[in-house]
Every structure is written in C-alpha cells, then in structure tokens.
C-alpha cells in the first residue's frame, strides 16, 4: 500500500441530493467512489491524485433497474452481479449480462458498477462497446438538474468525457424491442477469466432477404476510446450476405481504428483479431458460407 490514509478524506452522504449538493459546493474537488474497483487500485499504488472522495456506493437512488415499455433504465450504481441476475437484462440485453460476467472475478462483480466502468473511461472497459451497440443514452445529474445524452458522444478522448465536474452518472437507458437482431460479443484477454481485454467486439445485425438491414459494431481496446465502427457499418449496410463482405469490411475497419502497442498486446494483433472477430460474427449469420 503506497498511499497514506491520513491524507485522504472520504464522506458518505446518505442521499443522492446530499451527494450532489456537496459535489456542487466545490465542483471538481470531490471525486465520487462507487465500488472502488478502479479507484482503490490507483489509491493503493499511491497514484490517486484526488484527496477528497464522496462515497456513492450506498445510494439507493442509483441502484434501480427500471423496466419501462420503450427502454430499460439501469442505475449507474448497479453492480455486475445485479446485471447478471436481472431477468430482463439477461433476456433482452444478453450482451450486457455477458460483459458483466467477463468483468473480473466474482468478488469484482459484486462491487464494480456500470457507472464506474463508464466514468472510468478505459478503452478496455468491457461494458462499453456493448452499451455503444445497444445505442444507450446516459442520464447525468447535478444539483441543478438532469440531462440526457447519447452515450456515443460521451467519450471525447483518452480518459476524457462529457461529465461535468459537478455531475454524476445517474443511469443508463437502453431502448428495448431488439427482437429482430442477432447479436454477438467476444472478449479477447490474456486468459480465460479475470483479464483485461486486448480486443473486444460487440455486434448486432438485423437481416432480411439475406441482406443486412441494420448493423451495429462497437469495439474496445483498439483506440483511445471505445468506438462504434461507423464506417464499417456504413460499408456493410444494405449489402447482401456473401463472400466479399469480410474483405470489404476488413479494409474499412482497419482505417477507422487506432490500436497501439502497449503492455498487454500489439497494434498488429489487435487489428487482425478484431477483423477475425468480425469475420466470426459475419460467418455466423444465416446464409453465410464464406471462409474466414
């Protein structure tokens, strides 16, 4: 442990309102801590800059999963375990349940929150490509009110987000009626469990008459932020499912990602494997016969 606990303040407001008021009183000087599975690692390494923390782990207001007719609203404070256990999430948003099951071991899933994963803004966050594929919106709250933004716009650069200094992520909204979609997600890490992603692909597609009607592709760990592969999606939309699809998609995809060499993998590996994952997905589509 390389931090000195005497140098840190931590408070635990009893309600969301109190937490927001404190946040607003000195914008930017209080850092929220939820499950602590990212922050406490930084802290123990002696690298946590913020000296004042607000615990939001016990705020009931952030821990609901609301099922409305058009969307499901997941409180930012829901843990991975909450997500894995919720019947509507497992049934209608299986990719999110799967990403939750891939996020560290059970102890991590009992503590880590979806809001924490989003705010932490790591390009390797496993729920993030999934939320991108689900076209999620975020509800951000502050003492002065609420705003709703498309999640797609949230990450503005490496570890940079639209979150204002006095805001918290309140909830994540995912539109329902995805029944016509076929979906796919695969995480590639250094081992089978408890590993940070080297590459992640989440994909959804709606097909009719052996033609791609709508396709959503989102990738993690291939650039400074998790991204929707918009160019690749455009290239594939409206295409009939055939042999040349992957070749077509692979080229566009290579152009729109910015993978790097780092401690976990190489840019070359990430590019090829992401392409292979896309190939695996396309090949699983009804009517596909091509070799990858």
């Amino acid at each position: 442990m390389r931090a000195n606990p005497t140098e840190y303040e931590l408070v635990a407001p009893g309600t969301l309102q109190e937490a927001l008021a404190l946040h607003a009183s000195e914008p930017g000087s209080w850092l929220p801590i939820a499950g602590g599975t990212d922050l406490m690692v930084l802290y123990a390494a002696g690298r946590l800059q913020s000296r004042k923390l607000i615990s939001i782990a016990a705020l009931r207001e952030l821990r609901n999963i609301e099922v409305a007719s058009a969307e499901v609203r997941v409180g930012a404070g829901c843990t991975y375990t909450d997500l894995r256990q919720h019947p509507v999430i497992t049934k209608e948003f299986p990719l999110l349940a799967r990403a939750a099951a891939w996020t560290g071991g059970i102890a991590n899933q009992n503590r880590g929150t979806l809001g924490g994963n989003i705010a932490n803004a790591s390009p390797a966050g496993d729920s993030l490509p999934v939320l991108l594929a689900y076209d999620a919106d975020l509800i951000l709250v502050s003492a002065s009110g609420e705003r709703r933004i498309p999640y797609r716009t949230f990450h503005t650069g490496y570890k940079k987000t639209l979150l204002a200094p006095d805001e918290l992520i309140h909830s994540i909204c995912m539109p329902r009626n995805l029944s016509g979609y076929k979906c796919y997600a695969r995480k590639v890490g250094a081992r089978n469990a408890q590993a940070i992603s080297k590459v992640f692909l989440a994909a959804m597609v709606r097909i009719s008459n052996a033609t791609i009607k709508d396709i959503r592709l989102a990738a993690g760990s291939v650039g400074p932020v998790p991204i929707r592969l918009a160019g690749t999606e455009r290239a594939l939309a409206g295409q009939p499912i055939n042999d040349s699809l992957l070749e077509l998609a692979g080229k566009v995809m290579a152009e729109e990602i910015q993978p790097i060499d780092d401690i976990r993998s190489t840019a070359g590996y990430r590019t090829v494997v992401l392409r292979n994952l896309l190939g695996e997905f396309l090949q699983s589509l009804p009517g596909a016969r091509f070799a990858s």
Binding site: M1, A3, P5, T6, Y8, E9, L10, V11, A12, I33, G35, G36, T37, M40, V41, Y43, A44, A45, L53, S55, A57, A58, T81, A101, G104, G105, I106, A107, N108, N110, R111, N192, A193, Q194
Partner: protein, 166 residues
Amino acid sequence: MLNPRLPDGTRLEISLTVNGAARTIHAYPMTRLLDVLREELNLTGTKEGCGEGECGSCSILMDGFLVNSCLIPALQANGTSIVTIEGLANDNRLHPLQKAFLECGAAQCGICTPGMILAALHLLDKIPQPSLDEIREGLSGNLCRCTGYFQIFEAVAKLSRNGVAD
C-alpha cells in the same frame, strides 16, 4: 525522533459486525478494510497478496457477498456484516468446507486458502451443486500458485456431493 504526529482528529468511529460479534473501531475513512481486519481487529487470517484486487487472498464476505477487502475503504464497511476465515470453524469443529480442503490437499502453502475457502463458500451458497465450469468461474478471482487448482475443485465438489452445501 521516531515519535511522529499521528493526526487523530480525522479518525471516524466505524461499527460493523464481524463473525457475528458487533465491533466498533476508530479508523481513517480511507483505511482499507483489509487493514482494519488485520491490524485493528487482529484477524490476520485475511491475507494480502497483491493489494490491487487481482489475487483474492483478501476475500471476505460482506453482507453475504464475496468482496476483496483490499479494495474497500473502511467507511464503506460501516454498518455491514463481515465473515472472515476465523468465523467458519465452530468451537474448534472445522466447517465441512475446511475439512474438505484438508482432505483433498487443497491447501499447500496456505496463503491463498482463507480467501479461496470464502470464495468457495460464496459459490456453494449461490449454487449448491456447481458444475466444474461453475466452480472454475466461482474461483476465478482467487489465484493459487501452489496447487494448480484441481485439488481445490475436488474439495468444493466433495461438499456439493455430500449435500452439505445448504
């Protein structure tokens, strides 16, 4: 020399239930629960292997959930109920899971064992008859460098076979 000021003013009173007994301690809010258990409460059965959530040797149960105590600030444990390895044996009688660990050779050097047993307990609580894959998943946050895991899997399976899980 050697008598530094320990700023005491910022310590908080924290109350929690540990292995069934109510305890109150004074700690800095960002002191790790791991250190509270080991240093304030002298429950040194909970181990530190990495201090970053990776190894699981600090695993305990908090309000029935398996958590890594190295990642929990003391303040967040206020009002919770904690079970550590010391809370398992009853009057010198080993918990069946402890007995199974002994019989199967699931503890070699023993440093991962307390966390591993709590992870196994949590697993059996959620899934009384786990499959091998479920056992693997349930223990995937607990690293063991000695055993290669199989004798641990065997210990867990043994308990589920014997139907003592619930």
